[in-house]
Symmetry: C2
Subunit: 471 residues, 2 copies
């Protein structure tokens, strides 16, 4: 493809992209397709000859689009959003054009220095201590793995990196509501899932700090070396907030790494009135949140903050001759700050998003999203046929229909969810709370307005009515 063809096609794409943004609500949020339906439309073999771009773009529209789940839709209320913004998409266009590979300063000086600065911006925006140093990672899963590995190496004076595990067993702690990536990281780092302690939660689904303290004591007495506690600001199921300050204190007492997973809810710390959630975070060792979840920045973009960047770098650094440069002593070579060597120019989209919205613009959106969560929570509380299943500190609402005999509720709530999701008008997902099937809606989409939430609630009430049974 020559440049003038590119120019032509890219302009066509821009119009399609803008149309998509305008009309996204016309698409079914969740596509009504069967496994294999897309696969069967793609030839078994790569074409020998080049296809004209027109044909490729047509197939994108005809074959791929009918199989897309529309994360862009304000009616997407499933999981946590991977929200984004138009400024972020514009940045991605430039990023892909430059194709910068930002493994070291020399391979993209502007990217390295912009990353350093926007991570300072983010730190200040969230009210984190200036003792934290930030680096961009791909996902919170990876950042948490980095935390566990750095904790492992720091606690052993880098002995496992050097010689592998010995006889000592290391324990890791989190609440029973923590994200699945923590257990995954525990396994990858070589600790073993049986050394992962899931501390029970209180009635708000937050970690019971006193049980954590007892568990650690017992483990120490039994010869284990407690190495890391992962706490949550905003658990995945209910956005519960663990008692960060108490956990920090327990960790300090035993010299244990405290990693704070605020993957989703971290963005809410832009609001000073929500800083109660992060009280004690400045006494922790690391903190992660995903601008790609709720800060309007395209996936992937994770912000990882550490108190001891030297320990992080020493955990990962390996400098072969072909990567040495004359400025290595003066600059940040971010390849040593995480697992992959290669890195995209993700700082650019953060810079675009923060500037294009301004801190006040971001705060305004976040406040609006939280207000919608509170509104639905209140509606649910007031409705006799529904039950709120967890407190709603932010914008994720967990509830269930209870207008039928208890032994049928799991099945009925699942049926309600499936029926609505199948309609294509709304997409939300479930969780399990107190062993009960629970409907869960998250309101973090960039384009979300009050009427989307009202419509969602109306749909759920409507469909639920058909399942209503007198007790």
């Amino acid at each position: 493809m020559n440049t003038s063809d590119f120019r032509k096609h890219a302009h066509e794409l821009v119009d399609w992209m803008a149309d998509y943004f305008e009309n996204v609500e016309d698409y079914p949020v969740l596509p009504d397709i069967k496994p294999g339906q897309i696969l069967n439309q793609i030839p078994n073999n790569a074409p020998d000859k080049a296809d004209p771009f027109e044909a490729i773009f047509k197939d994108f529209k005809d074959v791929i689009m009918p199989g897309i789940t529309h994360w862009e839709s304000p009616n997407f209320m499933a999981y946590f959003p991977a929200n984004k913004s138009k400024a972020s998409v514009l940045a991605e266009m430039l990023m892909s054009t430059l194709g910068s590979q930002c493994m070291i300063w020399l391979t993209s000086p502007a990217a390295a220095e912009l990353e350093e600065q926007v991570m300072i911006w983010l730190r200040e925006m969230l009210g984190l201590s200036s003792n934290y140093t930030g680096v961009i990672q791909d996902t919170a899963s990876t950042a948490t793995l980095c935390a566990l590995l750095t904790a492992r190496e720091k606690a052993t004076a880098f002995a496992i990196n050097e010689d592998g595990f010995g006889e000592q067993k290391f324990t890791v702690y989190a609440s029973s509501e923590i994200h699945s990536s923590i257990e995954k990281a525990v396994k990858i780092a070589g600790f073993g899932a049986s050394q992962f302690r899931q501390v029970p939660v209180d009635e708000n689904f937050a970690m019971r700090a006193e049980v954590l303290a007892e568990t650690i004591q017992k483990d120490i007495a039994a010869g284990f070396l407690p190495i890391c506690v992962v706490s949550a600001i905003g658990t995945t199921s209910t956005t519960a907030v663990d008692p960060i300050a108490k956990i920090s204190e327990i960790c300090k007492r035993h010299n244990i790494w405290h990693h704070v997973d605020a993957a989703y809810a971290g963005t809410a710390l832009v609001l000073p009135e929500l800083r109660w959630m992060s009280e004690g975070v400045d006494e922790a060792d690391s903190f992660v949140f995903n601008p790609h979840k709720w800060m309007f920045t395209n996936f992937d973009c994770t912000a990882y903050f550490v108190k001891d960047p030297v320990a992080l770098v020493n955990t990962f650094t390996i400098t072969p001759d072909y990567l040495k440069t004359s400025v290595d002593e003066e600059v940040k070579n971010y390849r040593d700050w995480g697992i992959p060597l290669g890195r995209r120019f993700r700082a650019l989209k953060l810079w675009f998003v923060i500037r294009e919205m301004g801190v006040e613009g971001i705060q305004k959106k976040i406040r609006a999203h939280i207000a919608l969560g509170k509104w639905l929570a209140q509606e649910v509380i007031e409705h006799p046929d529904f039950e709120l299943m967890a407190p709603v500190p932010l914008n994720t609402v967990c509830f269930r229909f209870v207008g039928a005999p208890p032994d049928q509720l799991d099945q009925i709530n699942k049926a309600i969810m499936n029926e609505i999701n199948k309609s294509g008008k709304l997409f939300f997902t479930q969780t399990k709370l107190l062993d009960q099937f629970t409907l869960r809606l998250a309101f973090g989409n960039t384009n979300l307005e009050a009427y989307h939430v009202e419509n969602a609630w109306n749909q759920i009430q409507e469909v639920s009515k058909t399942y209503k049974q007198e007790a």
Copy 2:
């Protein structure tokens, strides 16, 4: 930003992008800036109020662009390229617009099924056995870590995932020329760097298989459990090719996982005449190559192939309630195939690139790149003041200026490289071979023509002349 503003700005960006592609050679390949120069131009704090997009785009051009290393330039001959193509950039535009988060089938069915099919395309294009199943990863570093972790778990019946390491020490093998990411993965997986055996290489910088066999025997006798051999098709310094078939045979004999790292050179296997390089690969356990290096697909996009996908999935799988779907038994949920939970829609760009170029188009480019490597190798051989430092099986040429007393050559070659890189007309990097500072040029850029290589060679000869000394 509303949709009509987006439309306007995106069209402006497209023109800038097309202009950039047209004029990329007008930029200095390596920017002439000092550490801190970009950082100092970015405000210390995030703006409270929104900036107009015009101002952001202006700063991108004025502040960021002067600090960009131009990976897009055909005069970028450093490292390995992160080459790409216009079709790939078009795909990235659509990917960022959809913002699909492809962690499971349900969250983006078309992405999951397209990934399955394009990985079959790639497998066939490279002539790999149909016993391989492919999955897209972010980088080869991560894929190699996956290989080591799966090897670890398979060899221990998933005992380390479950209970952590015991007393058994595990050894990993690769040649002394292997990429630094292997040692990094050895550390992360908990084996310890001292259990990483760097097998010496022969005069072609390829692993000496007989030494590998001896080393394994010795380790077994000493009570170690050999767990994985990482071989290279195309090492980082010189693109040396390890004897894959012999290594496969040794691995089979001892039931050791054989992981083939073809990160850069894997793309060359699209040429049937180069399949000698991969002889024996179908007896290996896993194979990785980066379409983002030499297959015209934007970074990041790594193709990882495994013989036993069940073992891979069992190494990583964790299914919390909030991720369960009704089709889990029927579909591929790629979140379990690697480390991060979240995943971008990378299959789309592979599909665009392969179709837009056709297999024949890709083959043609790769053949041209290899011919340029051979040409320069011959020029170097024929020049009395230069010495070829390694065989050139592909398109990476390692050589040095030798027209001065031996004790000054390291310093002089470094000076030659720095002087040329500082000119902005060309950017290449160094390696160390037989403990000697070596110039290293790689010819994999999408836009590379013969005259770029001729110009590079002329520049190197010109600058070298000024260092010429009679013996």
